[in-house]
Assembly symmetry: C2
Homo-oligomer: 340 residues x 2
DNA sequence: TGTTAGCACTCCGAAACGCTGAGTGCTAAA
DNA sequence: TTTAGCACTCAGCGTTTCGGAGTGCTAACA
């Protein structure tokens, strides 16, 4: 049977390891505020816990890490599941209310197929990201800090989203806020809401709102919505199989860059006909300097409305890939013009 | 202006580099059948091509690799796009015919949200993979090698799929084939079609068909359909952000394992209530030995019909994650029981 | 009897070193 | 113009060295 102290040490050690992912020694533990024993004492306890199989050393003179048995014990006895945060709850509930449109499905699938066939990562820019603008915005308080944001778009689409208001904001201020937003942001493409916010509205808010910092944070969150769903990726993990990405760091940098809507738009926006190839530095974005990008746009009524693309190392299999993009983009064009 | 020989060398070098991703020296090139010059001559040409900016060295005494300018030239002048293969064409055309059902959408989204909230990879086993069985199969030749395969499932669902017949097969044989398949496979769960094929039918075909090898290959392809879409992943790349996966090789092994339907089913099938945790070796699958798996099942009429799960390093944030899975699985259960 | 201080010992990991082999540039001969 | 020969370069790999973090053990202390 484990003593109180052993339980405590085990718990602290596992918690710590889960966070920092590094072996923990007796000295580190003894330095904690709530640890009133010397490192030597702790050392003894650690040795005991190791004998019991709850801890391991990575080598003779390293600190301890939890063993599988340790985790097992932790999960079974030391754990009180954390309650869900309100954001988490909201996300889950929203799941079932969102609708995915037929066109979105096609892009999603296209992205998958494209990367499946080529073994490169594919990026597709859906049409709305370029076209649809915000028409009207409303914010309906639900009591407490909760509220619903309602977005009406130029296409008549209505979307709503649960949000958390910043603590410090006054009802009066919410009104001001929404007014400013509507005035400044109606007509702005959804995709640009976020940027616009950052660049142009920060100053305005400083004038009109008490706690503009909190408000800015809140709005940044609010407009992550604009980013939603109009960019479709396929095969993000394909890059791992390219030898030039054997360094995880590189993959991360690239993936992080692709998460940035601004970068993706800059990369993919194109008004050229047919397939175009961008090699290495030509794209002008440092994080993607050793990648090539091959893209083709699809059109509606002879106007380019979106782009499909593949991204891979500069030494791409250009041969295979170009034909594929060409075909797919033509199919998409055809689809749009038949359907609408 | 580049000489014929220079063009040739450039082309060969880039093609080679695209394939093997290693600097290429004069000697390697001179060894090719179609290269009738000594390494010294080639060395001179390479030096010239480098002066012109088409090639680079990674260090003073390395072989050459293409520069960005080299790729540019290659793409613009040396490239004849390869024609699409028939498979590729089919995949693209099928894109627009497949329907994604509402439930599938929910799982797909759930997987995304789950991994977004936790920063771990999520795996969701949709209900059909476990439940639905094959009722009837038909194969309709379209002329040439093309055909449509029609699957009728126990739930009355009908799906069709373009396939390519093996070259050597006779019309008569197709009939035999379909008969055997229907006899042996009706009542078999969709997810097991593939396995069943491999294990039990290979012998039968050897007896009845001329070219059973080709036929087996063809069927393997045909039944990749059974695997389709019933497993949903979210955040496959999240693992890259965990320090224990800083070695790309590890990530690959894990991801490859998760592509194996058999493994995923073995991992996720569970008849326990509530959230269960599997730590490290407990799961019994070598490729996943340093991962923990947290799963919860959802039910329909008090019967478990599917599983949602998260996979991450053994030092997972169990605390946060358990509550989440619990909530989401309950929501799914509720959804199913309300809806059907 | 439980706790603590001190000390010799262990071993990882980073930095420094040396060697090998593939590949180059240059020169001179064919 | 092409080729052979030779001295030179340097990445990559294995080896060595060394400091530091952490241990186990012993002996003194409360």
């Amino acid at each position: 049977m484990l003593s109180e102290r052993q339980l405590f040490i085990l718990q602290v050690l596992i918690d710590d390891y889960i966070q920092h992912v590094e072996p923990i020694g007796s000295r580190t533990l003894s330095k904690r505020e709530d640890m009133n024993f010397s490192s030597a004492t702790i050392r003894n306890e650690l040795a005991d816990l190791e004998d019991l199989g709850f801890l391991e050393k990575t080598h003779t003179s390293s600190g301890r890490i939890p063993s599988e048995k340790g985790y097992r014990f932790y999960v079974d006895h030391l754990l009180s599941p954390a309650a869900l945060s309100t954001t988490e709850l909201f996300s889950i509930q929203n799941l079932f209310h969102e609708k995915l449109e037929e066109t979105e499905r096609i892009f999603d699938q296209s992205a998958r197929i494209l990367s499946e066939l080529t073994n490169y990562t594919s990026i597709i820019l859906g049409p709305e990201a370029l076209e649809t603008t915000l028409k009207h915005l409303q914010l309906i308080p639900l009591g407490g800090q909760q509220a619903v944001a309602i977005f009406v778009t130029s296409t008549g689409h209505v979307e709503n989203r649960h949000v958390m208001l910043p603590e410090s904001i006054q009802p009066k201020e919410i009104e001001t806020l929404v007014n400013i937003l509507n005035e400044k942001l109606s007509g702005v493409p959804l995709a640009e809401l976020h940027r616009k916010m950052d660049e142009e509205l920060a100053l305005v808010f400083q004038k009109h709102l008490m706690d503009h910092q909190q408000a800015t944070l809140f709005l940044a969150d609010l407009f992550t919505w604009g980013r939603k769903d109009k960019v479709f990726f396929g095969g993000k993990t394909k890059m791992l199989y390219q030898p030039e990405f054997k360094d995880v760091e590189k993959v991360r940098i690239l993936l992080d860059a692709l998460e940035e809507k601004a970068i993706v738009e800059r990369l993919l926006t194109s008004d050229r006909d047919g397939v175009s190839v961008t090699i290495g530095h030509e794209n002008g974005i440092p994080a993607i300097k050793d990648c090539s990008l091959i893209k083709a746009s699809y059109s509606f009524h002879d106007k380019h409305i979106g782009t499909i693309s593949l991204i891979g190392p500069t030494r791409m299999e250009y041969k295979r890939v170009i034909g594929l993009l060409d075909t797919l983009s033509k199919q998409l064009t055809q689809l749009f013009n038949e359907r609408y």
